[in-house]
Amino acid sequence: MLFNSHIFIFIFLPIAFFLYFYLNKIRLVRVSKLWMVFASLFFYSWWNIYYLPLILASISINYFVARKMIEHKNSQFEWLSKTLLLKIGLAFNIGLLVYFKYMDFFITNTNELIGSQLGLLHLALPLAISFFTLQQIAFLVDSNEGLVKKINLLDYSIFVTFFPQLIAGPIVHHKEMMPQFADAKNKLINYENVSKGLFIFSIGLFKKVVIADTFAVWATTGFDSAESLNLFAAWATSLSYTFQLYFDFSGYTDMAIGLALLFNIRLPINFNSPYKATGMIDFWKRWHITLTNFITTYIYTPILRSFNVLTFNKAMIATLITFLISGLWHGASWMFVIFGGLNGLGIIINHYWKKKAKLKLNKYLGWFITFNYVNITFVFFRAREVDDALKVLSSMFSLSNVVLPSFLASRIEIANVKFGGLVTSIHGDGYTPIWLVLGFVFVLGLKNSIERLELFRPNVAHSIFFVFILGYTLSSMNNISEFLYFQF
């Protein structure tokens, strides 16, 4: 079930919402929690019921291991050290991820490397496995370090399965979630949260349905179908994807934040106008913030700790390794590794510039370099194969494939320049350049959703804005397309 589907908006959500608060109102608090877990698992199983045992097994085993660590001194498992328990838990989670997500990738590469003939497993990637596994790894690590004092299965299950953030984040930390579920004030309908939740949900829905899905047509055609691209079409393809990814993923996050607010739960922000960044370090502080925090805490910091003597260069090595792992987390493909590597490299260059060059870059130049670098790295992120990436990149930087609009054909003549539709090869039309300009206006000129939420007041202006975007978007949901980050 997708957030941008009719069945979710008109059936699932109202039932989940009203029954949850009704059960709380009649003081069946535990039943309301059970209801939330059931509703979330139902939401999860809607895609494929066969994924359900996997998430249940993952929750059960992680809960069991975490509980043994938390109650270590009084446990019958005292003979097992906490570190060993942690290693067992980590091995289980990473094993699960490797088996379902990376096994065929490893087999393919092994076959190519040593010429073996190992058969592929062709396993379907269970939905959201990367997200719920990361969240539970963090919980195990914190349990081992004594940061979790008590735990019960029901609360833990809500923490992992809470449907607004289950599928594609934001990646949440138990210490910011558990107290909210336990707070008695959050058991009653809070109209401030409901109105704010609906407001930001509507913005997210608009971003996804109206903006991201418009760019998706040109990006998909340019990357997957077009045999060749002219200079303009290549830039339109890469920019379309860069905008699509942002509006799709930040739209999803807005919806998740809004949905959680309906239940009086505050999720962390995930995007803070990333395309306004004036450097790569700045960009990663603004893009997929919860993932950046996770990899900093649970990957980068442990790597740093593993060095006996910490130097600037070793920190840069740790940065590169972290980004390579982060790239691979996105999917079992060398393209994601390249994407991670390029971003790690960008961060390293940024650090070196700050440390060695001692030159303050003009902020507009900094933005220009950063945006274009990000745009290029996203070409690798999107392309299925190196050839697809090179097709787009080589066309973006080649002057041998310039095409001018057909109407100029009878007016001017330039050697080696063809005339035709600038974006017909990506199914674009006269609106494509306008949308691309609008994309820049949206990401650079307007306040982001979180800033808008902070300014939200229940007044007439916001009423008109809310009714317009929700009404318009709901009636525009002809074409339901999946969120990009669901695949990770």
Binding site: S225, E227, S406, F419, G420, N479, I480
Partner: protein, 317 residues
């Protein structure tokens, strides 16, 4: 400033009201005949159809049982059912769409084959359609709407079709779209700009050819007569093939089709294709020619077509 409670209740009520209104109008007018409960005698087969050929035809076909279909783009679409009926053909349905693509025609075949006991299929494949770079598939959207009543009844697209039907019936006739220029200017526009769009990015459709072979094999297996039809284009357009150095591809295209099924070919220099009087633009023949084409197809006569009997069927690997 209102309270948060009031903001929530008032605005959700307004949005609910808008959606209810949308649903009610779409349900009552029902521009694509999903429920067929009310009959206001709208000109849906003109207004709704021209707004979305694909949705109209899929919806229409889902309520009928047909044994003889024609597939393709607007050229196939112009061979109207009434021309076939006049010649005594029964159970005929036209699944050609204006602006259609090869992938849409291929998908349409499988939809038709899945819901009907087909006996004969005419697959219209003009050269401009036989092009891998022209692979847009709007049929998927129409199928999606067919499968999900929410998408139909709560859609602004359906509402605009409902509105046009109501407007056409009670306020004033909705004029059919005509090119905003005279025939000569439109002719040039089609011959230059549009042709440039098709031919400058032309890619020989090897993948689609395999899919056509699959259809041919399926038809042979199921005892369905399967024929390709190459609609006539004006010689002005025929000569553009050489301008884009596509002569080899054009020749290969006809040969490859003939390896898959019998071909009725109208697209070569003859008395019909030489005259502008027979065309509304270089791509589209007029009604008079459409009737002659149907006569040739149905009666298996040869007024201005060529025939290519199937030469061989390559096995699908």
């Amino acid at each position: 400033m209102m309270t948060f409670r009031k903001f929530t209740i008032v605005n959700m009520s307004v949005v609910s009201l808008i959606m209810t209104l949308l649903f009610t109008v779409n349900f009552v007018v029902d521009p694509y005949n999903f429920n067929n409960i009310f009959d206001f005698d709208f000109r849906k087969n003109v207004i709704s159809k021209s707004k979305n050929y694909r949705l109209w035809k899929l919806s229409d076909l889902s309520r009928k049982s047909k044994s003889y279909v024609i597939l393709g783009d607007s050229r196939s679409g112009n061979l109207e059912e009434v021309y076939f009926e006049r010649l005594g053909v029964e159970g005929f349905y036209n699944l050609g769409y204006g602006g259609g693509t090869l992938s849409e025609a291929i998908d349409s075949f499988w939809i038709a084959a899945g819901n009907n006991k087909l006996e004969k299929v005419i697959f219209g494949v003009p050269f401009s359609l036989f092009n891998e770079s022209n692979n847009l598939n709007l049929l998927l959207e129409a199928e999606d709407v067919m499968d999900n009543p929410f998408k139909y009844y709560l859609s602004s697209f359906t509402f605009s079709a409902s509105y046009m039907n109501v407007y056409d019936k009670y306020i004033g006739r909705v004029a059919q779209e005509v090119p905003p220029m005279n025939k000569e200017a439109f002719w040039r526009h089609q011959l230059e700009g549009v042709t440039n769009g098709y031919y400058s990015t032309y890619v020989y459709p090897d993948r689609s050819l395999m899919k056509l072979k699959e259809i041919s094999e399926y038809c042979a297996e199921m005892g369905i007569e399967f024929i390709f039809f190459i609609p006539p284009t004006h010689v002005d357009l025929q000569s553009r093939v050489a301008d884009f150095s596509l002569t080899r591809e054009y020749s290969l295209y006809k040969d490859d089709l003939c390896k898959i099924a019998n071909v009725i070919d109208f697209d070569y220099l003859n008395k019909v294709t030489a005259s502008k009087d027979n065309f509304t633009d270089p791509y589209h023949f007029n009604e008079k020619i459409a009737i002659k084409i149907v006569e040739e197809i149905v009666n298996d006569t040869q007024f201005f077509s060529k025939r290519c009997e199937i030469k061989e069927v390559d096995p699908i690997i």
